[in-house]
């Protein structure tokens, strides 16, 4: 039997008891005897207990016994009100000489499990004083097959599902029902009152109990929250030596010197990742596999044709820098401007391929790290397959597509202003 007893605080009792004693002394004098006042404790309390058949008993006890030797009697009153988790309620009250115990019962209902609350109301009537000594309350509670998994946990943390209020019942097994698929279950024939293990997937945990008037299967939610800090960050742009950039397994060669239609710069995002996984042994998620860590191996590489980094090259020198929107609209961009805008085109945060990649990467809907966090393989399934079938490829494709959108050309600035023509071979002479 498990129960709690809550005894009311004493001050009011002292006050009422003092008043009673004063009047009792007067009363005693009136009946012709005087004696020293004995020690006396007016007490009330409640109990909530489970019977062997699963019925719950609520008890309210009032003890208003007067001091010994006073040759007096009090009338004790008690009311017991027992309330079930679902709101079933049973009330009993009564009165007795000096003491009274009120009991009330709620029959076992396998669908109405959890914490039962008992509320007691107490008073005692002192005929000598012609008044009630007090009106007091007490309370108690008891769990009946109350199952909890301890609230929400972060994925990968141990959850402890514990059954309390078993009484004389017997645990015959545990079950986990997957909250996502609704179908995959983990079972255990353990007769223990706890079932614990690493939690990675939300769902329902239930425990089978026999031994009461009917079998019961209390259940509760196992709530697993996503871990934080899993978002992948943008890879910083990394300039590689001219003519060494590898993209899609091929070295990208930029024609030198550039010609009309050729590329003066190139950038490539190589998206990739690695992960570690762990299969859980024991508890509600036994057999599930989850990702314990994921690493972003994405690189962003870019290069620029050497003719634009070598300020003495013929191509660089051919960029006359004589463009004037009004007075010389057919003029050429300068070499410095062309080099800067080529870099802007490849890695600028505004009107640059890297910026487009960065924006797409920062869109949480595309974030591969966040996808990894939630990937789970149900028992028997391969986490490798789950990874391969996840939205990671789609997210990568979204990022790649965004990165391919052409920013303003290399002879424009990031605001779209034209900066002059590019002087290709055969070069026109600068004025």
């Amino acid at each position: 039997m498990e129960f709690e007893v809550v005894r009311p605080a004493a001050p009011w009792r002292v006050a009422y008891f003092g008043a009673c004693m004063i009047r009792l002394a007067a009363c005693a004098l009136a009946v012709g005897f005087v004696s020293a006042l004995p020690a006396y404790a007016y007490s009330t309390y409640s109990l909530a207990t489970i019977q062997s058949n699963g019925n719950v008993v609520g008890t309210a006890v009032t003890d208003g016994t007067p001091p010994p030797g006073t040759n007096m009697r009090h009338t004790a009153y008690a009311t017991a009100t027992l309330t079930s988790p679902k709101g079933r309620r049973s009330v009993n009250n009564g009165q007795g000489t000096n003491t009274y115990t009120a009991e009330t019962i709620l029959p076992f209902d396998p669908t109405d499990l959890g914490t039962f609350e008992e509320d007691g109301i107490h008073s005692a009537y002192c005929p000598c004083m012609g008044t009630f000594i007090n009106n007091a309350g007490s309370s108690a509670s008891t769990p009946l097959l109350s199952l909890t998994c301890g609230g929400a946990v972060a994925r990968g943390v141990t959850a402890i599902c514990a059954l309390s209020g078993l009484g004389s019942g017997t645990v015959t097994g545990w079950k986990f029902t997957d909250g996502t698929t609704g179908g995959v279950t983990v079972t255990s024939s353990s007769s223990a009152t706890t079932w614990s293990g690493t939690a990675v997937r939300s769902g329902m945990v239930s425990v089978s109990v026999t031994g009461f008037s009917s079998p019961a299967t209390p259940s509760t939610g196992l709530i697993v929250n996503a871990r934080s800090g899993w978002a992948f960050a943008t890879a910083a742009p990394n300039q590689v030596s001219p003519q060494t950039l590898i993209c899609n397994n091929s070295v990208v060669i930029l024609p030198s010197p550039p010609s009309s239609g050729s590329l003066e710069g190139y950038s490539c995002v190589n998206q990739g990742s690695t992960y570690n996984s762990q299969t859980i042994s024991g508890g509600p998620n036994s057999g599930y596999t989850y990702i314990t860590s994921a690493t972003n191996t994405t690189s962003y590489q870019w290069e620029i044709v050497p003719d634009l980094t070598n300020t003495t090259s013929q191509f660089y020198q051919a960029q006359c820098g004589d463009y004037k929107a009004q007075s010389n609209p057919n003029g050429f961009i300068s070499g410095a401007n062309l080099a800067a805008q080529t870099q802007r085109h490849e890695i600028g945060s505004i009107q640059g391929h890297w910026g487009e990649y960065n924006n797409a990467q920062n869109n949480l809907g595309n974030n591969v790290g966040l996808v990894y966090e939630g990937l789970i393989a149900v028992p028997g399934a391969s986490i490798g397959f789950v990874v391969s079938q996840s939205s990671i490829s789609t997210d990568q494709s979204n990022i790649s597509t965004a990165e391919k959108v052409e920013p303003y050309p290399i002879n424009y600035d990031q605001n779209g202003a034209f900066l002059g023509n590019v002087n290709f071979v055969p070069y026109q002479k600068c004025p």
């Binding site: 179908g183 590898i246 690695t274």
Partner: protein, 234 residues
């Protein structure tokens, strides 16, 4: 090393045993045999999907010369939770040979995720098979089958399928249809029995290439009835 050798022998045994059943195909891998079962490791390292793309032009994904078809499921109806037996056939309908992984042991998967481009001898092959169950309401549920792995430095772990050649893999997989389809909100339940239209998919990644191959969908589809499990309550 001993484990590796044992697995190679087991794989060879599997192929030899199954060849008598599927004489038309050059390669047959029977993963329904007990000796073919490779338990998943408790903890593992893996390479995620990869994608390499430059800033110009369309995304370049290689196309496999493979055609995929479901040979059969052994019978027309299965109960949920029952072991589903499926045979899936790969046919090289192209003009070039292709390497396909041929071992269920994930140890042959890629351990150096970027090895392909740097060192082809360390490159690896990974293939994922899946069955796609399309229900009456159009919702789709994926049933993953065993992955196959191969390492280019270990010839026994992969096969080279030349034009016109075919390979069949026979799977045994518990039919654990997700009750909630991945593209639907929770609460949408799976009503059984139900007739499904089943197709297959094949995803192949050869890390010696820049990007994974485009996923192949089966060119045929098969009707399959899924019944309630004998102990299923709802």
């Amino acid at each position: 090393m001993q484990t590796s050798l044992a697995l190679r022998v087991a794989t060879a045994t599997i192929v030899l045993c199954a060849l008598t059943l599927h004489a038309d195909d050059k390669y047959v891998l029977d993963l329904t045999l007990p000796t073919a079962i490779v338990p998943h490791p408790e903890s593992s390292f893996g390479c995620g999907p990869r994608l390499s793309s430059g800033d110009h032009g369309e995304l370049s994904l290689p196309i496999t010369p493979l055609a995929l078809e479901i040979v059969n499921f052994g019978k027309r109806a299965y109960a949920a939770g029952e072991d589903l037996i499926s045979q899936i056939r790969l046919v090289n309908v192209g003009k070039e040979s292709i390497r396909i992984p041929w071992n269920p042991n994930s140890d042959y998967g890629n351990k150096d995720c970027a090895a392909g481009a740097k060192d082809i001898t360390r490159a690896s092959l990974t293939a994922s098979f899946a069955l796609v169950f399309t229900g009456d309401d159009g919702s789709k549920r994926n049933v993953p089958l065993e992955n196959l792995y191969g390492r280019l430095s270990t010839p026994d772990t992969f096969q080279v399928l030349h034009p016109g050649e075919a390979a069949t893999v026979k799977f045994r997989e518990r039919l654990g249809l997700p009750i909630v389809p991945p593209d639907q909100p929770l609460g949408r339940r799976l009503d059984l029995p139900q007739d499904f239209t089943v197709t297959a998919t094949y995803s192949l990644d050869d890390t010696s290439l820049g990007n994974p191959y485009v996923t192949v969908n089966s060119r045929n589809q098969v009707k399959l009835t899924v019944e309630r499990a004998p102990t299923q309550q709802n």
